[in-house]
Symmetry: D2
Subunit: 269 residues, 4 copies
């Protein structure tokens, strides 16, 4: 792994790396599963963590159970991919949910998945918000706090997976939950380290080779952002997408490139 | 408590009492809560077990949490009131759900409620099917087995609450889950010990005095059935309804009458 | 009807009255029905227009049909009470729905209710957004335009009912749909003519006498706002709430007071 | 078109052909669209009628509108593919819905789709039940009558598409709605002219060549059934499936084979 210096070092990204940052020689590879959209079985051969849909934006109990069983068999860590109650919009619509309801909804989803996991010999090991809830928890401290309250209420100090520098990770750490930063090699970044919104042109990359190269850069602590900036950020996990025709291919390319770069892949939780 | 002899002793009800039946001096009083239809707070002052809606036929996470908190505070046992996924029909429509899906749906609901309960200092202590699922599990051995598989998958050998003589209780006991028989003082019975269907005339009683008298008879091991028959059956819990204008009044009348008859009320689980 | 002059005339409310404003001697009285929460039959004896839930925030087809039949029988105009797809939150949660989806959702709801109305001898006569959609359409021009696009797509130039001065009425009139302003005698107003949000203290009034007095003031073109201001506004309909214990009583009080004040009540559409 | 004589002529299929049956030189080709599962655009180049999901088992307003617009553009007739309210089970789970609710649900769906169709320059031209509702309406006269009541309530005497000999077609004709019989070249038949249930082995065929050959046989008034029987039946439309990888290919093969056999393809409504 080579640390690339670059012209964008002046971008204000101090918040995205903690003091004492060290290049990652161990990373996690996570993907969304159980959404009924991709090849869950093939992805579970590649990733180390599975964000499992809990029925609010997608998924159902029998699918959750099947994914949990496969994940348990393959040593893949299961995370609760908690979402707004919005199947019609696949959880991608912003919603204003009162904090107490949001926390309870998170707790409900984690509990539902954990019961299923235990029946298959595993447990929920972490929590990651999905879609519009993920985005809201980047910048909205109240949403972030409500999500983390729901996670904390479940008990067991489950780690929360989110964007480096996000309110989500801040809220997690404020109540002693581990906040785990992740990067998106197949998403375009803004210079402030946030993601370009899905609807915008170029927001989602689909070339497996390019995605793999960006994953290696993320492992080295940086990512190219829109407009030529280079963002320095620290990630403990890399997220690859589970849907779309080339999802499995891209995931494999990322895994191969990271391993070739000397990164060991294993669950963070 | 007096054991009433009666002309209906010839009705074939052998299955509804186990050998060694003893009159109950300890009973449980259960009601449906968290359905958004009744006065949960007032009922929780009266009952000893609360069947809490888990979001499939009614209820939502924040209501589940509020009910769980109140139940914990008052020493009321919480049960998962599992249902078909049918909010439009309040879970009262028969559905044909494949056994693996049904078992997973039960497991999902129990897990969701248990996570919520733990955050409020209690646990799910038993499971009771709701509405059309309850009815299906009376006579359909496959449905009964699927429900019990879901309960067993959650672990902890949770008791299952159901109709005396039902396939549900048989299926529970077949896999070593406690099967707990209950009676309905405000529902009309058929001579075979099953309930008169809700839609039929006279199916639901609403006079608190009559309901209370029937509860006392249930404690004594029998209930009057349609057509003048008297059914002998053994119950460990008495169910009062939580909705409707007179629900709380009827529940209080049942409690008072049972206590006056020397029955001690406490959770079975 | 007497036009009250008042100290609050300086409040900037020019937008809330159109040029040529005349005091209303004919008004409509509308309420929300078919939500499963109130006494629809009793309200339909009082109101002149019924905002019927279309299944997105509440309601179902069989209830819609029953309300439509009663409304047809009593000469009450039926309006489509269109909402975000949010049964869990009763349509009271803000959602970010792309304009094309929102317009299609509005069109879907209007069509569904109109088919039902025709089977009962009436038609959808107007459209009113519900809850969070109503609020969003007050200030958000894009939401307002999407709602009106959906209404216009249905055809028939259906009137749109909304807050005086709202983006909703502006968007309606921009595409030649009649925009009908309404007032809320049981809701507190801000000095800018918008409603105090439901969650805030004092937002919803419940004294039938006070509600009736405010309805008479609305008919005279003004309403008292929070902080002692008096807002001048022009309404063609008065909305009374359909749920809650005192709903019918308040609606009757409003009707009686308006009629005593010489206002004739009839549907605007 | 050649009329094949065969050993199975003795099978009791009298009910599946009406007196005066003539071989079909004009047929309709219908497929399920708007379910989010297939290539709607490609299928609309092949079929003459589109069964559009109305939101109860699949689909949403914006998809319905897109499909309606494409269908209008290509002269494809739009049918309402009405279903039980069961998104979780894709409408494939049997449900016991009271007749009044079922009729209202059908009416709701037809109205919703028709409003959308009119905004795109077309109309709902017929109704076809989906999945478990289709199957229930084959043999259950009460379900069949409720579906047809809902269709009749919408007005316009819309044709109802269903299995030859089904209760559905009988119920339609009993109230003067046209009952249109259809055949399934990619589904296995039982000797009584009903379909082999989806879950059973061999129920769904996937070889485009075989499917096309069976479509030609259907046009000639017969189909091979399980166990070597040959069923004589009369169809006015042929249904091809819209999902699965080979759906478009199979639909094209059916169309080409029928046209090569001298059958003209056009909507029945």
């Amino acid at each position: 792994m080579v640390r690339h210096a670059g012209p964008a070092e002046h971008v204000h990204v101090a918040k995205l790396r903690r003091p004492g940052f060290a290049l990652m020689s161990v990373l996690d590879l996570n993907a969304d599963l159980g959404e009924g959209a991709g090849d869950d079985g093939a992805l579970l051969e590649v990733v180390t963590s599975a964000n499992v849909a809990c029925g609010f934006h997608a998924g159902d109990a029998v699918t959750m159970r099947r994914v949990a069983a496969l994940a348990a068999e393959r040593g893949v860590a299961v995370g609760a991919h908690v979402a707004y109650p919005d199947r019609a919009g696949f959880g991608r619509r912003a919603m204003t949910v009162p904090p107490a309801e949001l926390a309870a909804d998170v707790l409900y989803q984690v509990g539902a998945l954990d019961g299923i996991c235990r029946s298959e010999g595993t447990r929920v090991r972490y929590v990651k918000p999905h879609g519009a809830l993920y985005n809201a928890a980047v910048a909205d401290a109240q949403v972030a706090a409500a999500v983390c309250d729901g996670v904390a209420a479940f008990g067991g100090l489950l780690p929360v997976l989110g964007l480096p520098g996000s309110e989500l990770l801040r809220a997690a750490e404020a109540i002693d939950l581990p906040g785990v930063p992740e990067g998106f090699p197949d998403r375009a970044y803004r210079p402030d380290g946030t993601l370009v919104a899905r609807g915008e042109p170029g927001a989602v990359l689909d070339d497996p080779g390019e995605i793999a190269r960006r994953a290696v850069a993320l492992a080295a602590g940086e990512v190219d952002a829109a407009g030529g900036a280079r963002v320095a950020l620290e990630v403990r996990s890399v997220c690859v997408h589970g849907d779309g025709p080339a999802a499995v291919e891209a995931a494999r390319a990322v895994r191969a490139a990271l391993e070739a770069d000397g990164v060991r892949l294993e669950p963070f939780a």
